[in-house]
């Protein structure tokens, strides 16, 4: 059946291709997405270059991120106090890249916890996230050399409903009094309910999200917050592997390229307003803007 399905998909593609390519105005390649392709390839190439450089013995020095340096301290404290560590991987499913980033971070946190002999509780709001989180925790325990520390029941599904999940997590926070809370993933309105309750029970709280509307609440209520991009480098930072640190350097290279584009682009656009007659200024400005996807 699978073969038939794959065949069907392939043929379906061919047919759609025929139908669309019969329209002469629509070539196979999305030409407006050419700048996007260039940026994506550029970031990909930069990653490869910096990963190889790093492998050859030139790993970059990453600036300290206080939130991540606090991970060991938080877990150590939980061990001393004999209380659990709570890890919340957000409320979205595995088709959200933030959840994926949260689960990879869970792997790092669970490994440290296994080394320190602390218990990690992971309530999830999606069945697939529960499965992925179980895999991550299990391999972490294995990597820490303590496979017996893995208890699948500590990674459990609660409910898909946003606020029922929050009701359960806050209720168990008040009852179990975790010594450390990690809030890592996609959060919406519930962010502050979780963070304030965690604060109330005296837990060290480390939060990270790319959800810009919730960052203010985490910054206000948590001890440490990974802001936006910091959240996405956390897993690489904690791994300490040269390969992954190399890819962080590639992120920086791309950022410097963006800064250059923005500064030059703004200067040229301003110059084009001052010298309105200089056609080449307008052309340069239009070119620069189209390179970041502006449509004429």
């Amino acid at each position: 059946m699978l073969v038939g399905a794959v065949l069907g998909l392939a043929r379906g593609a061919a047919a759609e291709g025929e139908a669309e390519s019969s329209d002469p105005e629509l070539p196979a390649f999305h030409e407006q997405r050419l700048p996007l392709a260039a940026w994506t390839l550029g970031i990909g190439l930069a990653t490869l270059v910096f990963v190889f450089r790093s492998r050859r013995g030139k790993p970059p020095v990453i600036r300290r991120l206080a939130a991540l340096d606090a991970v060991d301290e938080a877990i150590g404290r939980a061990t001393e106090m004999g209380r659990p560590v709570l890890f919340v991987p957000g409320i979205m499913d595995m088709n959200d890249i933030q959840t994926v980033a949260g689960v990879t971070l869970l792997g790092r946190v669970a490994r440290t916890a296994a080394e320190y002999d602390a218990q990690v509780e992971v309530p999830t709001s999606r069945s697939l996230v529960m499965e992925a989180a179980r895999d991550a925790v299990q391999s972490a325990c294995l990597a820490a050399g303590r496979p017996e520390a893995y208890q699948p029941d500590r990674v459990h599904y609660v409910t898909d409903e946003q606020f029922a999940y929050v009701a359960h997590v806050t209720g168990s926070m008040v009852r179990e009094r975790p010594a450390a809370c990690f809030l890592m993933g996609t959060f919406y309105g519930e962010s502050l309910i979780l963070a304030e309750t965690g604060n109330h029970v005296g837990a060290i709280q480390i939060a990270g999200t790319g959800e810009t509307s919730q960052l203010p609440f985490f910054v206000a209520a948590c001890d440490y917050t990974l802001i936006g991009e910091e959240f996405f480098v956390a897993s690489a930072y904690l791994s300490g592997e040269p390969d992954q640190l190399g890819s962080v350097q590639a992120q920086d290279a791309a950022k410097i390229a963006v800064i250059a584009f923005v500064v030059i682009g703004t200067l040229v656009a301003t110059a084009a307003v001052i010298w309105a007659d200089a056609a080449w200024l307008h052309e340069t400005s239009d070119f620069l803007r189209s390179a970041v996807g502006a449509r004429p």
């Binding site: 999305h30 970031i43 069945s127 895999d135 991550a136 029941d153 304030e196 790319g210 996405f232």
Partner: protein, 235 residues
């Protein structure tokens, strides 16, 4: 180990590259739609695993007579009742446009048992939980918004200006300002803070996130970060 490590990695890399490439090629445009439908269905099937986890946790609490086992029994009862009522579309009339199909009716109205559960249990509980935010915003404002350092001072002054600028009281407070200084009226000041400083901050955060997402994806697709992969599997 090939089936447990290499194959999943190959599947992830293959699926990822296909999805990325299909975004640029019109003949492959259908792929993203198919992939998201596959995801939706797999995720709906995986509910069985979630239900299993929920049942197991609550049943073991009940059978061990742990503290609070009565609440576990309530959860279980509520779960089973809702599941049976909803899966069987109990008490649902068929759709008036096609009464010949017994299960064609909509069960989201308060007339049906399932709709009743939504309207009188789920919806008020959810709205009330959300409303707790108003209280937590207040306690956070009291506890966390203190000028401990320069950054925190900037944060709290901005929040203060915007909060005042969004009320009648704040608007009246600075209403006397003459036209040439109208930019300093609280409501205009809060718009200026948001429109200029806020949009610069938001833009940089979004650019950073985009780079972070791209790099995270690349780390997965290049096989650099495998912490999400199962080592042993099973469980």
């Amino acid at each position: 180990m090939i089936a447990r490590q290499a194959v999943p990695l190959a599947i992830a890399i293959g699926a990822g590259l296909l999805m990325a490439v299909s975004y640029f090629l019109r003949p492959l445009g259908w792929m993203s739609e198919s992939a998201s439908e596959i995801f939706n269905v797999v995720s709906a099937i995986a509910f069985v695993l979630g239900a299993g986890s929920l049942l197991k946790a609550n049943l073991s609490t009940i059978s061990r007579r742990d503290r609070g086992w009565g609440y576990a029994a309530v959860t279980l009862g509520a779960f089973l009742v809702t599941l049976v009522v909803g899966m069987g579309k109990m008490g649902v009339n068929p759709s008036p446009s096609s009464p010949q199909a017994a299960w064609s009716g909509d069960q989201q109205t308060a007339e049906t048992p399932f709709g009743w559960i939504y309207e009188f249990v789920l919806s008020p509980l959810s709205a009330t939980m959300f409303a707790l935010l108003a209280f937590f915003v207040a306690s956070a404002a009291f506890r966390a918004f203190r000028a401990k350092n320069a950054g925190a001072a900037v944060l709290l002054v901005t929040a203060f200006v915007v909060l005042l600028g969004r009320t009648y009281a704040g608007v009246v407070l600075t209403d006397w300002m003459p036209g040439w200084a109208s930019g300093l009226r609280l409501e205009n000041l809060s718009n200026y803070l948001m429109g200029v400083f806020g949009s610069a901050g938001n833009r940089a955060i979004l650019i950073g996130i985009a780079l972070g997402v791209a790099a995270t994806s690349l780390r997965i697709l290049l096989g650099l970060d495998r912490s999400w992969l199962s080592r042993e599997g099973g469980g």
